[in-house]
Symmetry: C2
Subunit: 257 residues, 2 copies
């Protein structure tokens, strides 16, 4: 595999950083190539601005349009172009982060806001004029896996846990972002109770991580439904005969998981 | 009301910015006081760093611990302290943003990461040692409302729409963040198909917005369950007799909504 490993933790001595180093070592031992975007170490700028698109300051900025135009002209900001180059090179992406306020740290959210722009990551249409997204699109053929650490205990992220399940919390990322641009997404790896990890727990986490990485290319991805294979109508609503009576996030999986 | 209005759009000529100005005018006409955090105009820094806490560079940064210590000593970074001051002043918070990758723009996510820190927004315990959160806590007694614009059409954000429903996408913010720190959250205001809004549509949106603001203090909040009022066990899992057989995000509402 050619792996792009995104990580976003401010502390090089953290559990996240240790697992990151372990994971890279494991991948290289397994014969894979790895490139890293350590967003804190890079001091990555998270906020979308007109400067991303070399957009004239006096003209109204419409983000999607400005992005497409900049992609067409090759005038995206250099730090964005570098990240897109890594992504084009990779066949696999790891997205690793501590869960902050039940989502990604801002620096990582900003990576997606700035790098996954219209004209690069989405915005391609087929002969029928349908946009290729949700299972098809510019980044189809690649795989992704999310690795997330939480202070919360695992039970509180279970089917009846107060925080909601991890798959529900990650729906905007796993389905709305990674699957949206065409990537297959394997189940996430949760490192719960991360604040209380001792050396023995760390060794266990590292073992699980090595196994998950070794199996990554053969792991069954999350069974999200394709936009353009008959399940959705033209308003992108599930057709009545598809999982009738089911509403909510689970309706967008082909099978229970 | 004393309203803190958070907004996060890079373009002052956008639909978001126009509605923002309309909303403030309406609130002031209704006799309320308003303070604004226009994060792009402020060039707000989104990434949590050791400098937020005046934390010694050579010591391992554990974010929660460093935050509590900085709150105790009064050494939080000045830009964070200013935002916390506005929040302490306010009884109501509006959180307005364009939905980017099914979540907040990074600059706004970073506001919560940096301002809602341990020791200020949460981390208070009762006499039984239970943490006061999910309906109780440091910011209890305040109200919040989310205003979100989307390029997507409304149907695709409905109960069987491909994007998931707005309440599901906003669960990490409305439940996991605002309710977590004790705020009551009224239903969100969705401005769908925002890319296609003409003058007539804008006038309709502005009308709805004025009405929602006028009713805000008397609107029924989302019926999220309290952590400490009997519905959850000590692992923060719903007790078996509470909505038995229900799993997923809807289980954390007291009544269907």
């Amino acid at each position: 595999m050619k792996v792009l490993w995104l990580t976003a933790h401010p502390e090089p001595q953290s559990l996240n950083a240790s697992l990151h180093r372990e994971g890279i070592r494991a991948l290289e031992e397994q014969g894979h190539e790895v490139r890293v975007s350590d967003l804190y170490a890079m001091n990555f700028a998270p906020a979308v601005t007109a400067a991303d698109f070399a957009h004239p300051a006096e003209e109204r900025l419409i983000v999607g349009d400005a992005a497409k135009e900049a992609v067409r002209r090759g005038t995206l900001a250099p730090d964005i172009a570098v990240e897109q180059g890594k992504l084009s090179w990779a066949d696999t992406m790891i997205v690793q982060f501590p869960l902050w306020w039940y989502g990604m740290p801002a620096i990582l959210k900003g990576w997606f806001d700035r790098v996954f722009v219209a004209g690069f990551a989405f915005g391609i249409h087929d002969a029928q004029g349908r946009q290729l997204r949700y299972g098809e699109g510019a980044l189809a053929g690649k795989r992704a896996m999310v690795i997330v650490s939480t202070g919360a205990r695992e039970a509180s992220l279970g089917p009846r846990g107060i925080n909601g399940t991890l798959d529900e919390l990650l729906f905007p990322l796993q389905h709305g972002t990674l699957w949206y641009v065409g990537m297959e997404v394997v189940p996430p790896l949760l490192i719960a109770s991360a604040d209380r990890a001792d050396a023995a727990t760390f060794a266990q986490h590292a073992d699980v991580l090595r196994n998950r990485l070794e199996d990554l290319w053969h792991t069954q991805p999350l069974p999200f439904r394709h936009q353009n294979k008959g399940d959705y109508d033209d308003d992108l609503v599930l057709r009545p005969e598809v999982s009738p009576q089911t509403t909510g996030l689970t309706a967008h999986y082909r099978t229970a998981h």
